[in-house]
Symmetry: C2
């Protein structure tokens, strides 16, 4: 498993959520609308994102721990610990966040999105379309 790879953020989250302890565990559990603010260097890649699109946003959960391999599911200490790869815990060897969100508005290098549970300042790594019928991939 030698070798490491370098992630370079393409943008950041701007959100009223500032404390990870206040963030909902999933975006459909009450996350407020937030902005994705992209670097001018990736502007050409954003050109076909439209309001109404359902997209997957990949983030780097930079406040997460990377030395965690077992967790109490949903932070509930009354439940037995589970292997982290069977959970959505942010704490994991490569803390990549995966968020399904809806695009509300597009404003140049900024996307307004619903249902994003990431906290303010979280680095954005990638945006991918949700897979639809084969022609839409």
């Amino acid at each position: 498993m030698s070798g490491a790879y370098e992630l370079r953020p393409i943008g950041r989250v701007e959100s009223p959520l500032t404390d990870p302890a206040d963030a909902p565990r999933q975006g459909d559990e009450g996350a407020p609308p937030s902005w994705l603010v992209f670097s001018p260097t990736v502007a050409a890649g954003l050109g076909d994102l439209r309001p109404g699109a359902e997209v997957l946003v990949l983030t780097w959960l930079d406040r997460a721990r990377r030395d965690v391999l077992t967790v109490h599911p949903r932070g509930d200490r009354s439940r037995p610990e589970a292997g982290v790869f069977s959970t959505r815990s942010p704490h994991r060897p490569n803390p990549i966040g995966l968020h399904r969100v809806r695009v509300l508005a597009v404003d140049g290098l900024r996307l307004r999105v619903a249902d994003l549970e990431a906290v303010d300042g979280t680095p954005v790594l990638d945006v991918k379309p949700v897979l639809g019928p084969p022609d839409e991939r």
Copy 2:
């Protein structure tokens, strides 16, 4: 967008697919069964993965280009170029692969999976459960 982050692979794909040109574009388009072979350092994180589970595998597409911002969708040059964040092209600033697969068998540090379109040797970054009802997260 200053700062970069270091990904450390947790495993590798072992697959009969060796040429990216031969790999299907999506796993449900004819990918053969393959193995995920994990590092002993993450063994404790694998403990609750079971045959039949539907999981998301995140990979690092180490043969992809990172300087691509627009592509012909599905490689079809008769179609107009689209911003890469509206496509599933492997070529993108942070080439993270996202694959929904089914676990066929568990053998220590190895998982046999169906529907994985990644080529042999692809680094594995993370495994996450597909989100089910809230109690299952």
